[in-house]
Symmetry: C2
Subunit: 409 residues, 2 copies
């Protein structure tokens, strides 16, 4: 029998987030920072643009110049500034992005010009500042550009490049060691005997770790033998920030994982009042030989149960470690297209597809919901969160759908 | 002057998708297939489970056995099948996932059992099939499990592992060569003179290529000189599926990129009736020395313009090349929190944050919308698609917001 009390789902999630630290900070090259969380404010060291830049192809002029025809004294391409100076009666041909020569205070677009014999006149009025980007128009010197906790997106990468911030401090990505246990588990590609199955969990979990922004580390398949498991625990906990085992946490008598988890760490919960995924364990490891806390998750052996537990309980923790402040997927209210019969004694997460139709979301469960049936999760874009209590849901009832295909917000 | 006609945005997008091929198919190891698009149906070669498996820890029995007490003749753990056979008056202790011994037709959970002296009796009725997962319960032999065009998610990886499909055919990811042009462009980290700026575009575009599932290839910064550009075009078009240049497509007199694009390929449009991003070029290259068609995109030099054009026009093409059938981000109707004044002569994409409040989406533009100001895009989660015509939008007006933080669906 599982010796732990049944912890309500919300309490389990709270316990995890409360005991999960942000990881330490590392400096990375700006172009490697995509998707990472900034650990400090980034201010502009210089204004952008750092010179008065032309916003158009045309002519740099003095706006109030009374001359009708002006002499073209040279050209200023985008690129290093030439020594040209604009004075009354004179103009410089200029391209988009080029530095506006001293003296000029506006740019007239080429389409409003008429040229004749090295001279030009304009068919439109011009005012000081026209088509001229002042110094610091985009970013003022010293301005806070990217505050701490920003998740760097492609535009953020561009801002760092523009500001010459070659390295930035970001939170480290969690390294996650993943282990499968059980005599019945065989590596894909190897021969199987009757009674054995191929390891799916380690691969689904490692893929989910990648999706969550973590770095997976495979510990392979370890048989339910104390020595082998002990070595794997040591390897995982010394090399990784998070240790995940799947299998070995049900009520079977050879459940050595639980013994080892208790030996290494402090168990905060050992089973969760959820379906699927009841036999889910969470423990923390604080040891003097480790610079920082490790987390242990014992996930169920059934593939769907382990993936749903990962999604709801492990993924938020991995994101918190990596510095994210948005930890939860968006939810929508959706109308059921069919009835659901259930016991209703645990919170339940049914796999579903939601679809926008006639101004509202409609939810359809992805077939048989047994916790071994990975097919119920492949291609699902939502988990229906069915609360404790409601035993029977009718077609048309409104349920909460967690959009597992969308980023946290 | 730009010699090309102004192509309406929708027509530009149609032209791109119509001329963009799916790439060829490659076989990858199943664990590398995350996010890839399947190029062929995957059927199950064998049923799953491939043996009758216990769904609980308990006792394997004959359901109709009249005996009150049954003799425990052995144990069957999850793992290879033992030679035990269950007959009347006898039972085998069994764990979750273990093969149910021949003879038995049900499993009684351990919590409904009482043991005494090597015998057990049950406190609950049992029917044939109880807690027993029949062969093929999850997947029947020969069943279509993952149809062609499926995007492989973590559950899909697990299904491939379970079915022992070590390699799968997927569409190749596009290799995208990215080039910046202009004498004013300097590599971040290098010294700049007045009039020069640091290259942001190549980094924002390469990051966006990664986000779109492509493989970026940097061609560096190439000055607006014919020889250097000619070499870069040759390198990009021989090594990559898509060639993207930014800058060099405005009306400036040194716009050599356009000349080279026309030399290599067939231009389908040369400017788009959109804001920002008007000077956007699309061309295809069909040459006998290439095994398949290459695409060329000439993007504007202004950072925001190039990113918005990438998002709306290049990203759908990259996804189509990689086999995706969902090419467009979701949109929502959102209520403006403020007025927008605009010319209204081109379709416009303003950068914004949308937020769910009081039962509806609210949209707020991210400050000054000049096309050089990357700050307007960093952290934005939407592009407001403002149609041609509406010159002035009032607070409370409803606009269409493209959710650029959410995957295509």
């Amino acid at each position: 029998m599982n010796p732990y009390p049944l912890t309500p789902f919300e309490e389990a999630l709270d316990l995890i987030l409360q005991h999960t630290p942000r990881l330490d900070v590392e400096k990375v090259a700006f172009q490697e920072a995509l998707g990472r969380v900034l650990a400090a404010d980034v201010h502009a060291g210089e204004p952008l643009p750092s010179f008065r830049a032309s916003a158009m192809d045309g002519f740099a002029v003095i706006a109030d110049d009374p001359a009708e025809w002006r002499e073209i004294i040279g050209e200023q391409w985008a690129g290093p500034a030439s020594p040209l100076v604009v004075s009354l009666g004179r103009t410089v041909r200029i391209t988009t992005g080029a530095p506006v020569p001293p003296g000029a205070d506006a740019v007239v677009p080429v389409e409003y010009s008429e040229q004749a014999g090295g001279q030009v006149r304009f068919t439109r009025d011009v005012r000081p500042g026209d088509n001229l980007r002042p110094v610091g128009e985009d970013i003022a010197s010293g301005q806070l550009v990217l505050p701490a906790d920003t998740v760097i997106d492609p535009a953020g990468i561009g801002l760092l490049a523009s500001m010459n911030r070659l390295h930035v401090p970001v939170y480290r990505r969690p390294v996650v060691a993943v282990l499968s246990t059980g005599h019945e588990i065989v590596e894909p590609g190897a021969a199987i005997a009757p009674g054995q199955i191929r390891d799916a969990n380690r691969y689904t979990i490692m893929s989910s770790v990648v999706r969550a922004g973590g770095i997976p580390l495979s510990l392979g398949i370890v048989p339910d033998k104390e020595d082998a498991l002990r070595i794997a625990f040591h390897q995982g906990l010394t090399q990784a920030d998070v240790f995940i085992s799947s299998g070995g946490v049900s009520m079977g008598e050879r459940d050595l994982s639980r013994v080892l988890i208790e030996e290494w760490g402090t168990v905060h919960f050992g089973q969760v009042k959820q379906k699927p995924g009841r036999p889910t364990v969470f423990a923390i490891v604080d040891r003097p030989e480790f610079l920082h806390r490790r987390l242990i998750f014992g996930l169920p052996g059934f593939p769907v149960a382990s993936l749903v537990s990962f999604e709801n309980l492990v993924r938020p923790a991995l994101r918190q470690m990596a510095g994210h402040t948005c930890l939860f997927r968006p939810t929508v209210k959706a109308r059921l297209t069919h009835a659901i019969h259930r016991k209703g004694n645990r919170i339940e997460f049914q796999r579903a597809c939601v679809e926008w139709r006639d101004g509202e979301w409609h939810a359809t469960v992805t077939g048989l919901q047994t916790s071994g049936r990975l097919l119920s999760l492949a291609g699902a874009n939502a988990l229906l969160r069915l609360p404790i209590g409601a035993k029977r849901l009718e077609p048309g009832d409104i349920v909460t759908a967690i959009r597992i295909d969308q980023p946290e917000q």
